[in-house]
Amino acid sequence: MSTTTTAASSIANEIQQEVMERKPFSIVAFLKNRWFLYAISLTAFFALWKYVDYTRVLGNGIAAPEKVVVAIYRLMIDTVAGKSLWGHTWASLNRILIGFAIASSIAVPLGILMALNRYVNAVVKPVFDLIKPMPPFAWISCAILWFGIDEPSKIFIIVVGTFVPCLLNSYMGIRLIEPQLYDVVRMLGGSRRDEILQVGFPAAFPAIFAGLQISLSIAWTCVLSAELVSARSGLGFIIIQGMQLARPDFVLAGMVVLAFWAWATTLIVTYLEKFLCPWKRETSLA
């Protein structure tokens, strides 16, 4: 087994790498090929899933993969509570977008302001520190008591859940800028305004975006738990409906669609970040 960490920074290294890669075909190398392993792993996963369903180890608690596909297809055509799968997906997505937009448009400026102005910080930080440790789920009960079980309560939960990482990351983003960068601007005769616009924002941008990224995944969890508790539409509603009807294929279908959308939205934000902030150093692994 070889490490792939050989730095190809010089020509000598590149040639060495090429020589290392030009190997004769061998069974062992083929078996250790990454894509081959991935294929084995996925096959094993689905086979196990199918097997568990087949043997009824979990009783009626699981549906075979192909039944889940059928369930997704049926949900797309038929309607549950007046909406097809697309309608429910859009219902969830819509809540996320509204909540996310409200939270980020308040939290990001507030976080930046807190980092730049000591007085704002002194006023807001203690109250924020009080609210910070409460898990977003804990707000569901409050939201229902305050806003009923309609749309506003779900959006409120998303706003509360996403607010914290947004604010925290924009605050830390500005605070953790290397002071040397400011020194450069000051040395070149920049004003406080230049400091903020030329250094503060660009340097804090990756951190702010990371905050948005975290918020987005929290938003999916929030909307889901809100819908699980009470809803008439949304992916969480499909899942809970499947549970009440004892139909694990519906539950799994909801989970699969949910996973897909959570993954897709994260991907969109990642690409948006690459596009908007090309100066970010590549630090995200895994």
Binding site: M1, T3, T5, T6, K32, R34, F36, L37, Y38, I40, S41, L42, A44, L58, G59, G61, I62, Y119, A122, V123, V124, K125, P126, V127, L130, P133, M134, P135, P136, F137, A138, W139, I140, S141, C142, I144, L145, W146, S217, W220, T221, L224, S225, L228, V229, G236, G242, M243, A246, P248, V251, L252, G254, M255, L258, A259, F260, A262, L285, A286
Partner: protein, 264 residues
């Protein structure tokens, strides 16, 4: 020394403002309830919450258990899930970081399961385990394992290549390098995983207890809602928040103690 440490005196205003802000927050909260701007069916005042806290320490009604029992159950569940996720997640992540075989086999499944929010597993968990403690532990375990795997993986991957090459030059085997270089150099990241994973576990706990519970802090909050007692909801939230902070501090202490000898 290039720079001299200068002690800057914070202005009086900046020392007063935080206190004033907190006092104002509680003052407004109390006033809003006292003056019936917000009805008492929607919000309880801080003093009412304090009173209920004292009462709930000894009185099991109306939700069936005293506060300490709720807290005890929650902590037991959260910690069981947390330790299980550490026991499974950290070795898995470490192995995935170093051995291509482990990565090739575990990564696709991990990537498939990762984007599903742990809360989404609740219905399936109820099918599988019923509404007892194992189901909740399973959900907490799911939420805790993700940061464990990712951080251990990244920790191994960030091992300085120089060290690995050096060891290889001296004829170390893969297993030796993994054991003597990768694991120690990944330790700070692994402890980072502990902190994150603990926070995730504690957050998910409340979610898990929402749908399926008969005891626990999350259950206290749900019961508060069902009985339309906002004071109880608030009490539950505050207990969850405070306990979470306390656990966080303890974990941080342990981390500092254990990492004392390791250079970052």
């Amino acid at each position: 020394m290039a720079y001299e440490q200068v002690k800057v005196e914070t202005p009086l205003v900046l020392r007063i403002l935080p206190v004033a802000s907190i006092l104002l927050f509680f003052g407004v909260w109390q006033a809003v309830v006292e003056l019936k701007i917000v009805p008492n069916t929607m919000l309880g005042s801080p003093t009412q919450v304090m009173a209920l806290f004292w009462e709930k320490l000894f009185e099991a009604n109306p939700d069936g258990a005293v506060l300490t029992t709720h807290a005890y159950i929650s902590i037991i569940e959260a910690f069981t899930g947390f330790f299980l996720s550490l026991i499974v997640g950290v070795p898995l992540g470490l192995l995935m970081g170093w051995f291509a075989l482990a990565e090739g086999l575990a990564r696709p499944i991990f990537e498939l399961i990762r984007p599903i929010p742990p809360v989404a597993w609740i219905p399936l968990t109820i099918f599988w385990f019923g509404i007892g403690i194992p189901g909740k532990v399973f959900i907490i375990w799911l939420s805790g394992i993700v940061p464990c795997v990712i951080n251990s993986y990244v920790g191994v991957r960030m091992t300085s290549p120089t060290l690995i090459q050096m060891a290889r030059t001296y004829g170390a085997t893969d297993w030796d390098i993994f054991k003597k270089i990768c694991i120690p150099s990944a330790l700070p990241m692994v402890f980072g995983a502990m902190t994150i994973s603990q926070a995730y576990c504690w957050t998910t706990l409340v979610g898990a207890e929402y749908l399926a519970a008969d005891q626990g802090l999350g259950y206290l909050i749900t019961m508060g809602r069902r009985l339309a007692m906002p004071t109880m909801v608030l009490l539950g939230m505050i207990c969850v928040g405070l306990t979470g902070v306390a656990i966080g501090i303890i974990i941080e202490r342990i981390e500092k103690r254990l990492l004392a000898g390791i250079r970052r």
